[in-house]
Amino acid sequence: MAVIPRTEFQRRRNRRKWLGRAFHGMCLLSVAIALGMLAVLLIYLLIQGATGINWSFLTSFASRHPDQAGIKAAILGSIYVVLVAGVVSFTLGVATALYLEEYAARSRFAKIAKINIANLAGVPSIVYGILGLQIFVHNLHLGKSVLAGGFTLALLVLPIVIVAAGEAVRAVPPSFREGSYALGATRWQVIWHIVFPLAFPGILTGVILAVSRAIGETAPLIAMGALTFVPFSPDSPLSRFTVLPIQIFNWTSRPQEGFQEAAAAGIIVLLVILLIMNAGAVILRNHFQNKWEG
């Protein structure tokens, strides 16, 4: 019987240990690079923009003079547009996911639809802007309004919501469905009383992701015809508007030093709004998640 020399064993073990450490180190390095870049960005922004953030910056409208330029119109525009996009994509996305997972599950149609929806998530965002311009602005005569912008972004993020909501719905244990069917529940009652409440935290996660993406989008709204210089508050759903990323983009393309500072300050505002919205949604999600855990 052949016996492998003990030294051979030892040598391989050392090599494996070394490989393990190397891999560990590589992963750590990747984390350091990602976090490092983020830290550099944040520090740079804070140095350049922190002095620009004050009450008058937050409450003033756009101006030709850098020291008088404010971000009020963009903040309001972003909040309104994202609100519309969030509500519309949530409603359509959840209904679509429920249809595909609960009503049409396992059908050929559902399979094909799901593949196509996943592909839609990869379509360049500017295509959605062009689509929105044609359908919402022209065909539906909404104008280049808050509503048209919100609908456009809703279309853009719809695939994210559908995929996330579909996963959340699939994650509801079949035993709960069976349990309620066995008590005489109709399909609608099973969905409304069991599937939806249990899938809700997961669906919310998808909506958080979607809204976070929507609030940073620039290209589709420019393609759709959002303004870049707005010296007024959007006061109705049909009002014209601008959003934070467009305002920031506009300022960075100006030669004056003051506008560069305003752009940095604008990015900080955008990040803070994003953080607040995400934190709110996470708190909401945890609230629903922990309620009945045993």
């Binding site: 309620s180 066995a182 008590l183 309620k291 855990e293 045993g294």
Partner: protein
């Protein structure tokens, strides 16, 4: 026995998943207010047969049922029968306790609520929990999560949940297989009490359990060429002491399965 002594009867019942047969030509009479157990080796179609009685197989798109299931003479697979309406006449308890992630109270109240019950819900909840022998253990924490209960308590909660819609039949699909011996004993005791007012059909892997609790036993089997056919059906006492078929004897004495 006369036909009216049977609450459920199957006539030439076969079940297919796509083209694969799972239950073959079963004729079975289920006695009223008695416990009938279905035993047999794994994969012999016990659960599939059980799920014909409340049309749970309808939820599996590939399943197809042939033959008749008569519920007090009414064919459950007749053209005018709505499966959601027969399911609160014929309740079900599952293999793993599956209380909803809601409060104890809301679990019991779920069935009455979805069926449009308008009366005194507190009374229904209390009555159902008393009947399921769980009331004394939970009466002070009805608002607590059902998932905070032990496995045995969860299964009794599921029984209470089924009782709350006042069914006439209770189907039990291996209700004790996920429970410890003490919890199993409590459920068996409960089944005996319930059989005074309800007809119970239980699928079980545990032959001692079938012998202990059931009045009648059906033995299902599978062979190379046939799946899910009924070998022998009769009083449990006879099946477990003096079976007519040698395959039944081989199974209950542990020679296979």
């Amino acid at each position: 026995m006369l036909d009216q002594d049977f609450i459920l009867q199957t006539r030439g019942l076969s079940v297919y998943y796509d083209s694969k047969i799972a239950v073959t030509d079963v004729n079975l009479n289920v006695a009223r207010n008695r416990i009938t157990s279905i035993i047999g080796p794994s994969g012999c179609g016990k659960s599939t047969l059980l799920r014909c009685f409340n049309r749970m197989n309808d939820l599996i798109p590939s399943a197809r049922v042939e033959g008749q299931v008569l519920f007090d003479g009414l064919d459950l697979y007749g053209p005018d029968v709505d499966p959601t309406e027969i399911r609160y006449e014929i309740g079900m308890v599952f293999q793993r306790p599956n209380p909803f992630p809601k409060s104890i109270y809301d679990n019991v109240a779920f069935g009455p609520r979805i069926n449009g019950f308008k009366g005194d819900m507190d009374e229904v909840v209390e009555r159902s929990l008393v009947r399921a022998a769980l009331w004394d253990e939970v009466k002070d924490r009805l608002k607590a999560s059902a998932l905070s209960l032990s496995g045995g308590q969860q299964q009794r909660l599921c029984i209470a949940r089924a009782l709350a819609v006042e069914p006439r039949v209770i189907l039990m699909d291996e209700p004790c297989s996920a429970l410890d011996p003490f919890a199993t004993l409590a459920i068996e005791e409960l089944m005996r009490e319930l059989s005074e007012d309800y007809s119970i059909i239980i699928v079980t892997h545990n032959m001692q359990q079938a012998a202990r609790v059931s009045h009648y036993t059906a033995f299902l089997m599978l062979e190379e060429t046939r799946v899910g056919f009924l070998v022998e059906f009769g009083e449990s006492r006879k099946i477990f002491t003096n079976p007519e078929d040698e395959r039944t004897e081989a199974y209950i004495t542990g020679r296979f399965g």
